[in-house]
Amino acid sequence: MWKVTLKGLLGHKVRFALTAIAVTLGVAFMAGTLVLTDTIKVIFDDLVTSVTRDTDAYVRSRDVIDTAFGEQRDRVDASVLGRVREIQGVREADGVLQFYAQIVGADGKTIGNPMGGAPTLGLIWNPGSLTAWRLVDGRGPTENDEVVIDRASAKAGKVEVGDTVSILSQQAPATFRVSGIATFGNADSAAGATAALFTTPTAQFLSGAVGRFDGIQVAGEDGISQRELVARITAGLADPAVQVITGERLTKENQDAFAQQLQFFNVALLAFALIALFVGSFIIFNTFSIIVAQRTREIGLLRAMGASRRQITLSVLAEAVAVGFLASLAGLLAGVGLAVGLKALLGAVGIDIPNGATQILPRTVIVGLGLGTGITVISALLPARRAARIAPIEALRAATTSTTKRLVVRAIMGVLITGAGVLALLFGLFGGGGVEAVGFGAFLIFLGVAVLLPVIARPVTRLIAWPLPRLRGTVGTLARENAARNPRRTASTAAALMIGVALVGFITIFASSIKASFASSIDQAFRSDYVIRTKGQGPPGLGGFSPALAREVAEVPGVEAASGIRFAGADIEGRATFLGAADPATATTLFDIEPRRGDLAGLGPTQIAVSTEKMRDEGWRLGQSLAIRFPRGPANLTIAATYGAGQRAGLFDFLISTEAYDLHYTERLDSQVFIKLEPDADRRVVTVRIQRVLRDYPNAELQDQEEFKASQTQQVDQVLNLIYALLALAVIIALIGIANTLGLSIIERTSELGLLRAVGMTRRQLRSVIRWEAVIIALLGTLLGMVIAGFLGWSLVHSLADQGLSTFRAPARELVVIMVFAAFAGVIAAIWPARRAAKIDILDAISYE
């Protein structure tokens, strides 16, 4: 029996190579993701450890709040540092601060933070032993206008010791003399982040933390354990507002915080790898089904000679194990290569990852081999069972009978599974079931439709191909009938593509809806002439402009009003949320948020404005007081005004005055600055004047309404393109599936194709038949995928209506492009099978026996 298995494998190298590719690609993607993230994690763990290696204890504020932007902790008073230094057992203590500071290079351009990547950090230069920064040139800053910068930034900006650089922060741009250049340990930078290190007073000034620190790093004297040191400091300070933790815990917390971010990245990539494997499983299923069908005689003969059903099943499964294992092994190797390549690619686009050994964990090997082999075997289970059901008598029959009797059962099952999928999806979106329920629902929908598909494949295929006979004559008829002749095969081939197309179409619809919603909220709210936003594609809320920018622009002759808007996280009535902050006096001139009741323009430092939707949802009343926790502590703000354009319109549900913001946050960066010109101002002249102000802010970009809209759209498009790239793998696997099915069908139809050639079909006509068959299958998968995409997109957009997704838009042009592309991809998938068919030797084909 095993000899038969082995011969089966060796005898069909090409078809197994194609099957194997489906598995190999998926496993490679998965293994690559795991290896890459494991490698990055180890590198960053080392990095994080090296930052706090000599820290035995860390003193910080006990006040921490959860906001929509993550955890935010208050700062500690600088006087704590002096008190800590006096405690017995403390050898060394340094105050630390970390804040936004972007260096401007010699060419006048900002350094670092490409595409919103690694941050641009401002830090305190601490000369003691606690820091990982090492001077390689010059000296540390001793004057308040001196700075030390990292070597990577110095190289990138062509800056040398003694040069003067401008630095952007939440204060007005200022120039500093570079007193020294430092490395982070041995690395030129801290994982790609730029660093500007200042004296303590300068750092405190630039971060708006005068008299305060983020925390205090402490080194203990020899022989004192970290726990002991923490206990002594806690007792010594006796300050309930302060928390003391060990250096180990600090390291662990930092590592965990990073791991959590990495985890998100990891899960996202693994999801795409799983999609690829899921698509691949259809290919495997198909290959094994076809092979079993083609070997019906051989299997019947084996059964006649006494092979048991079990033996037949096992021999098919053994083949699956062998193929799956070899394919997974190849995938694993390719995955490691992929990880190394990706890391280099990330480096090439500026997301610099320090060097470190590539991490191939046993988990990666086990999961890669296990999942790849497992999926292959599971996909081969049904074909194996079908093989076992072959009766000995079928050795004697020409077996081309297709079973249609189980179609009713199939139809019922398909409808039930699809229905369950729809329910799970809707529960996930609207019933609070979360992303797992959504994913599982989508999986069930795909599976259900795939089960159902053979029932409807024949009529739907004929429908899709109805114009073909008229257009292409006999070639068209043959292509249509070939596509329809084996519905099960056509169905599972099309289903693989359907999944890929459904996801591509869905993400296209979703992105389109986001863009349309953006555009409509900008159209509605944008009342100003210009907006200043940060260059590059960094996420809003990170980085920004010193409020000095808005002040300077407001003073430009011809400008009626200019005001910055900020976004921040807060805990309002126990819920993590985000709010906007603006100057209420100018806000209504600059953007239309549809003021309703109360006095929006007169919003004071102890007041808050709330959207009418939120008011209704929460049942709040005007004049009511809200308990809010800000990073700098709790406060009660009174609802003094309401407005119509809240989160549902793509804006925010809470608005406070800039004044109130300054009281409750230490970071004061405007995300965007809105500008309105005087009605009779000369646009061109004023624009030139504004651009002159912007010269000191090389991270700023002046845009009008249309440009602003375009840049928002562009951000969505970037993410969209990334997802397209990730989904491309699933689509490619599906196309390999079409090629594979057609190739196998051609082997099966050798004599028929030979006959066609003998009676006068040219090679070109034959290739055309195969190509059209591929196009029909591709269109079948694409059409179904589109229907599912429409449903997925529609339900997701509606579930996010209260998050500002106001508009559902299925972009006709893009969807048509996808259709055309799919049809064309079908042609490409048919190249190899068509060539193969054309090569069929007529004599071989028509020779009887």
Binding site: T477, E752, L755, L756, A758, V759, G760, T762, Y848
Partner: protein, 246 residues
């Protein structure tokens, strides 16, 4: 253009076909000279492995000779490329094979008109009607091959071969898979095509009673023509075959 020609519809001149090399060399055709008259029904007979099918294939442009020449009418097939050969087959020749004669996804009528459809030509409705009536399948035209009996399938195949009015119809053991009654149906239909419409037919067969439908029988052994009979009877053919030691 018929000035220079003989009346032969097809002929082989010193045609050899050699498979393999060295020890494994097989001379399937050994310098054969043979002519097939137009408007005649010729049977090719011989023991298994004597080269009957090979001869038919090279005559029909399905295979090439190793040396020598093969003509369809005036045309030397060895001067044609693959595409030209395909067109010759489509427009000038018809085929009936022993099995796998029909395309399973096309119905009987579509199968019959296949070569014409591939050439983009509409069948002559009168001739189509005549052929359909002669094969006696008027009520079966919309049936797929798997809904037809073996004899009906072969008759569809013969109808297909005749419908394009080819110069020659080649048939390789067309009744080899049929019971004798179906075989008779097919053979008498071929005979009628020759008698009524002057069709040229070259048929390979194993079966003496089938060969008896022909105007002339050519005997093959070891790739050489060793004998022939004109206006054969089944008994005469049978006798001759016995001497060949099949």
């Amino acid at each position: 253009m018929t000035t220079l020609t003989t009346t032969a519809a097809a002929r082989a001149v010193a045609a050899s076909k050699i498979y393999g090399t060295g020890d494994a060399e097989v001379r399937a055709l050994d310098a054969i000279d043979v002519e097939f008259a137009a408007g005649a029904f010729t049977a090719i007979m011989g023991p298994s492995g004597s080269g009957k099918s090979t001869l038919l294939h090279v005559l029909a442009g399905l295979d090439t000779v190793t040396s020598g020449q093969v003509f369809i009418g005036d045309v030397d097939l060895s001067t044609l490329n693959e595409k030209q050969l395909t067109i010759v087959r489509r427009e000038r020749l018809g085929f009936v094979f022993q099995a796998f004669n029909l395309v399973p996804t096309l119905d009987a009528l579509e199968n019959m008109t296949l070569p014409l459809a591939l050439a983009g030509v509409k069948p002559d409705p009168e001739w189509l009607d005549t052929v359909v009536r002669t094969v006696g399948l008027s009520d079966r035209l919309r049936n797929r091959p798997n809904q037809l009996s073996g004899g009906q399938q072969q008759r569809v195949a013969v109808a297909r071969a005749l419908l394009a009015r080819p110069e020659i119809v080649f048939a390789d053991e067309p009744t080899g898979n049929l019971d004798s009654r179906s075989g008779t149906e097919v053979l008498s239909f071929m005979r009628r095509a020759v008698d009524d419409h002057g069709q040229t037919i070259i048929m390979v067969t194993h079966d003496a009673s089938a060969a008896a439908y022909a105007d002339r029988v050519v005997f093959l052994a070891d790739g050489r023509i060793i004998d022939e009979l004109v206006d054969p009877t089944a008994a005469a053919v049978f006798d001759r075959m016995k001497t060949l030691g099949d």
